[in-house]
């Protein structure tokens, strides 16, 4: 059983069957048919995996499509990537554009590009510096969202600590336009222990310590211990429980 696993490299254009490999590399345009289990997957051009992908590291630097589930210790998207199944990974980093159509389970999720999750997003830490869209529940111990780019939309947030901050534009022209192109986060409900919000639209916010910063528009806030509201925020009702 000590059969040596082979590397698979597609340079140029080609397709290969799935199976067990050591390192898988696609340098031009490649397609892998079937499930694949390997140590690393590295896509530098365009790659399409038609089955499940299981690897200790997946790096997509060009454009990649995984048509089923992806399981990896670390998943890094530097270009654009679509995954149609569930994604699970300890470290998930999206620097380009990621579109994960179902649930995502991770430990550390970092987004500096655009991430769209169709189902739920569960992790210990979620740090997003670009637009984050989650179709279901976004649940994590710490969530840090810095608003930029286009509007972020999340259906529900459940967390330990949440902070949503606006990004201060570095240049002068940016500062002129902030008033016109304010980025915001739209959520239906937020539940957490410590919540800090800026530029957020939410129907319901429930938490222990809630701080509503500038630019927010909140329907109802319920809090246990602390509540602060910026004068530039709109809160329709705030109730202490």
């Amino acid at each position: 059983m000590t059969e040596e696993k082979k590397n698979l490299t597609i340079s140029g254009s080609g397709s290969a069957p799935g199976g067990c490999y050591e390192d898988v590399k696609i340098n031009g345009s490649g397609k892998i048919q079937g499930d694949i289990i390997c140590k690393s997957i590295d896509i530098n051009g365009s790659g399409r995996l038609s089955g499940d992908a299981k690897a200790s590291s997946i790096v997509i630097s060009g454009s990649g499509v995984i048509e089923r589930n992806a399981i990896a210790e670390s998943l890094m998207v530097n270009g654009s990537c679509r995954i149609d199944g569930n994604v699970s990974g300890e470290r998930i980093q999206v620097n380009g554009r990621g579109k994960f159509n179902r649930d995502v389970h991770g430990e550390q999720v970092r987004v500096s590009g655009i991430l769209t999750v169709g189902g739920e997003l569960e992790a210990e830490d979620v740090i997003a510096e670009g637009p984050l869209t989650v179709g279901g529940l976004c649940s994590a111990e710490h969530i840090e969202i810095t608003l930029s780019g286009i509007t972020s939309r999340i259906k529900e947030i459940g967390c330990g600590t949440l902070s949503v901050r606006r990004r201060f534009p570095s240049n002068f022209i940016g500062q002129i336009f902030t008033g016109l192109t304010r980025k915001k986060l739209i959520v239906e409900s937020i539940e957490g222990d410590e919540i800090f919000l800026e530029d957020t639209e939410a129907k319901v916010v429930r938490g222990n310590r809630v701080t509503i910063g500038a630019g927010c528009s909140i329907g109802k806030v319920t809090y246990k211990t602390d509540y602060k509201k910026d004068e530039k925020a709109i809160v329709q009702s705030a109730i202490k429980e």
């Binding site: 111990e141 459940g158 967390c159 330990g160 539940e191 319901v204 429930r206 938490g207 222990n208 319920t222």
Partner: protein, 269 residues
């Protein structure tokens, strides 16, 4: 017992059969036994439908939103217990009250000694597959009475090692024989149904029905706890939620492993 027996007096269940047939899983107010009815032998398997809003749950138990979501992420609380309903304030999440309170109590008791991952392992429906006991364990640990084991021996005379599904079958058999709803001849049908199918429905919200029509017994195993409707000739003798049986059984096995044989009456507390 964290139960409000008088929550809605109009719903006081007249008989077990009548109540069961009308029951809807998503109803908020179905529940209620008159205080005098002994619930002990039923192990909570009959009264499970009262729901509790998330807000009230947090207030009663004193846990925070963060903890609740953390436990959910670690799968200490099954996804299926999160029941979404629309209310006049928008959408809210409800939980099956009794199961949830028991689970939170269990987690709070154990979280100081075990890590969350170990706890998740313990509550996972799959963890039971490792359990194998021998015959003397069954009696020592008060999982079954010797009478039930005798009935079982008539059907399976040679079995030495008991897997979890056998234990579950025995456990349910024991309950049904003890509460007098079933006689020993019917045990064979019950065991047959459970042995063939129960392992498929561990992790679901499954439910066992025992019905009779014209004195002929039948067992139904439902993978989900849904409403079912029978014709008038059918009488529902007993209904058990497998998930609560599994939990009660696990507690029994675990506790006995930790502390040696205990009195069986402890299991429902």
């Amino acid at each position: 017992m964290p139960f409000n027996y008088n929550k809605n007096p109009r719903e006081l269940g007249p008989t077990i059969e009548g109540r069961d047939r009308k029951k809807t899983i998503y109803s908020v107010t179905v529940l209620c036994y008159i205080g005098g009815i002994q619930r002990k032998d039923k192990g909570g398997s009959l009264v499970e439908d009262e729901l509790i809003a998330k807000k009230d749950l947090l207030e009663i138990t004193g846990i925070s939103y963060g903890q609740l979501y953390r436990w959910k992420r670690k799968q200490l609380i099954p996804e299926s217990w999160f029941i979404r309903k629309s209310t006049f304030t928008g959408q809210e999440t409800f939980f099956p009250k009794e199961k949830m309170l028991k689970r939170i109590q269990a987690i709070s008791e154990m979280k100081d000694t075990l890590s969350l991952d170990e706890l998740a392992e313990r509550f996972s429906p799959q963890s039971v597959n490792k359990i194998v006991l021998a015959e003397h364990d069954l009696l020592d640990r008060n999982i079954v009475s010797s009478m039930t084991l005798h009935v079982y021996r008539k059907i399976e005379p040679d079995q030495q090692r008991f897997q979890f599904e056998d234990l579950l079958a025995l456990f349910i058999l024991d309950r049904m024989l003890k509460n007098g709803s079933m006689n020993s001849d019917e045990a064979k049908d019950l065991l047959g149904a459970l042995k063939a199918h129960s392992h498929k429905v561990y992790d679901k919200n499954s439910c066992l029905y025992f019905v009779r029509k014209m004195g002929v017994p039948a067992f139904l195993l439902l993978a989900e706890n849904v409403d079912i409707y029978f014709d008038n000739g059918i009488k529902v003798i007993d209904k058990m939620l497998l998930s609560s049986c599994i939990e009660a059984l696990k507690v029994l096995i675990d506790r006995n492993q930790a502390e040696g044989p205990l009195d069986r009456s402890d299991q429902n507390e």
